[in-house]
């Protein structure tokens, strides 16, 4: 067993990763609650945005232009998908709607592989100016990017919770989570509310994509699948409903994932963390569940 000192650096990276998973998980939960769609293309959208940002930086554009492009790209693509396929599949239940987003994920994945082929040379990467600055707590080096990642996770979680609780649009989203038809009858413009949810989810996908490209790696498979799987696990533990639980689960997943690194016996299996945690949570939660024809039955 490694000593405590060996674990310490991984607390920092784990918290940063957890913050980004939380941000992604909250994005997924909000969209799911408002529209009944679980956006499985979340990671692919972020990945493509990050690759576009990488190309812009290579072409000599200033960093902030590239970052904003990535985030806007996420918003536009996700909103576009939601506008086209949201209404077309609206009556088909969450399962079919969510499987359909896998189609978008495949398209983006294929495009990334075509446009940015993996060559033997230098692998693409993105770095922020905040990577170099930082401070130290005791022996621990903390850089600003990690701080920003965790802070963003917290801010988005708190902000979203407050938004859903207090704003008019947020109230409409919560109403739609309960019953789409009744909400429409009450005069809520549900298409517009759904569009807002898609846009928000897409913007978060862009943020998650660019941040993870820096903190983790600019690699299409990692960004497309690892991100979705980890944040999905967090959202699942939150029962696709609770934002605070999703946040906590995301932090735990990020922490456990990174804290396993020094334990050499199992460090190769660290990418299984989300699956194992989500499976355990599902096992515990499924006890005493009653079968009902609720809206989510899909």
């Amino acid at each position: 067993m490694p000593s405590w000192a060996e674990f310490q650096p991984y607390i920092v990276t784990g918290l940063a990763l957890g913050g980004l998973y939380a941000l992604s998980g909250v994005g997924l939960v909000v969209l799911y609650r408002a529209t009944g769609v679980l956006n499985l293309a979340f990671g692919a959208v972020g990945a493509m945005g990050a690759f576009i940002a990488y190309s812009l930086i290579q072409a000599g554009d200033p960093g902030w232009v590239a970052w904003i492009t990535c985030i806007v790209f996420g918003g536009v693509v996700t909103l576009g998908y939601g506008m086209v396929f949201g209404p077309a599949l609206a009556g088909r239940g969450p399962l079919v709607q969510s499987i359909s987003t896998l189609g978008l994920a495949l398209v983006l994945f294929g495009v990334i592989d075509l446009a940015w082929p993996t060559t033997g040379g230098q692998s693409p990467s993105i770095s922020f100016p905040t990577d170099n600055g930082g401070f130290s707590v005791g022996q621990l080096q903390v850089n600003w990017t990690q701080v920003i990642a965790l802070a963003l996770g917290v801010a988005i979680t708190v902000g979203t919770a407050a938004f859903l609780r207090f704003s008019k649009l947020g109230t409409a989203m919560r109403a739609m989570a309960n019953d789409r038809e009744i909400t429409a009858t009450l005069g809520v413009p549900i298409r517009r509310v759904e569009a807002a949810a898609w846009l928000g989810c897409g913007l978060l996908a862009g943020i998650a994509g660019i941040m993870l490209a820096d903190l983790s790696a600019l690699d299409d498979t990692t960004l497309t699948f690892t991100v979705v799987i980890s944040s999905l696990a967090a959202a699942l533990i939150g029962q696709l409903r609770s934002i605070p639980v999703t946040f906590a689960a995301a932090i735990v997943i990020g922490l456990v994932h990174d804290l396993i690194t020094p334990i050499t016996q199992i460090s190769n299996y660290q990418d299984m963390t989300p699956f194992v945690l989500a499976a355990i949570a599902l096992l515990v939660m499924s006890r005493g569940q009653v079968l009902s024809r609720s809206r989510e039955e899909g």
């Binding site: 088909r92 399962l95 079919v96 189609g103 994920a105 699948f225 079968l291």
Partner: protein
Amino acid sequence: MIDTAGPKAPAASSRPPVLDRRSLTRFAVIAVLLLLAIFALPPLMSGYYTDTMTQVAIYSIVTLGLGLLVGRVGLYSLGQLAVLMIGAWVGARLLFATSQPYILVLIEAGLVTAIIGSLITLPALRLRGLYLALITLMLAGGVIVVAATLNFPNGGGGFSGYNGALLHIPAIRRPSYAGTDPAFYRFSVIVAIVMFLLVYAHLRTRPGRNWAAIKQSEPAALAAGINTTYYKLWALALSAFVTGVAGALLAGADRELFSIDFPIQNSITLLAVVLMGGAFSLAGAVIAAFLQAFLPALLQNWGVPNDWLIILFGIGVMQVLATAPGGIADQFPKDMKRLYRLISRLWRRPEAGIQAGAGGVSGAAGVSGGDGA
């Protein structure tokens, strides 16, 4: 889990028990096609296409298992690639470790995979359909991690059966009667036929009826006295069994296995091709296998990057879900019928047909446009 947009319930329930002329004809056509595939194709094919068609035969078993889950029970699994990997791993390990007959190994690999597969999906079974899709997606990610670390057996000792040797890796053995590529191709087709018959037998009897009931409405099935958890588990176990058999077959076909042969995006493309081929019919499984295993080989031969295929599958899955839930197996005959009607109408009444035909043509083209994929 209630998918009202799907085509009507499996035809099994509506068909009379006695063989009528239509089903006899269908049976004859299938038999002739299979005989052609077994006896006429191998001498005609090059080595490259013999390998490819072996893969098609093997993947038709995989898509059969996934189609069973998706089309008949309404369980969307994204972890079928992981199940296939487990089957391939167990099959390869047994083939190296023992000298049992090949058929026995196939069955054992199927049984082990069935046990592992149903154990892993057990937690999600009591939950709603979406959860199963998600937990199986995570499972796919997890199993790929394990396979990358554990590696596939290559004749080493111990539990993993892997040693770091890069040279003189012994090939995974094949049965003595199917040593050559054409012979192994025939063997794979025959195994696939047996698996199709196994699933067909299930669909025609009590499990098939109960699955159909569960797919329509789980609460209603429960109320009708069906043990839904038991039958869902049965479907998962049966699907994992046939997929495990396919995995062991794949071990013999490839002769050496690497974890990079199973990229994670394939777990999604598998579901995509099953939906595109048609999850509601057994013919759809064969079409899906051609999409999954034949098209990539064809494109490689033509020098087109495989990524185009991934994009195509992505578009295909969205199109199928949005407009043609029955997939190609359901849509193609309909389009053909429509085309036939159109042509015969044009033939009979030229001037009246043109106007009606114009609308029909655009409609048919719109629906079949994505089916060409």
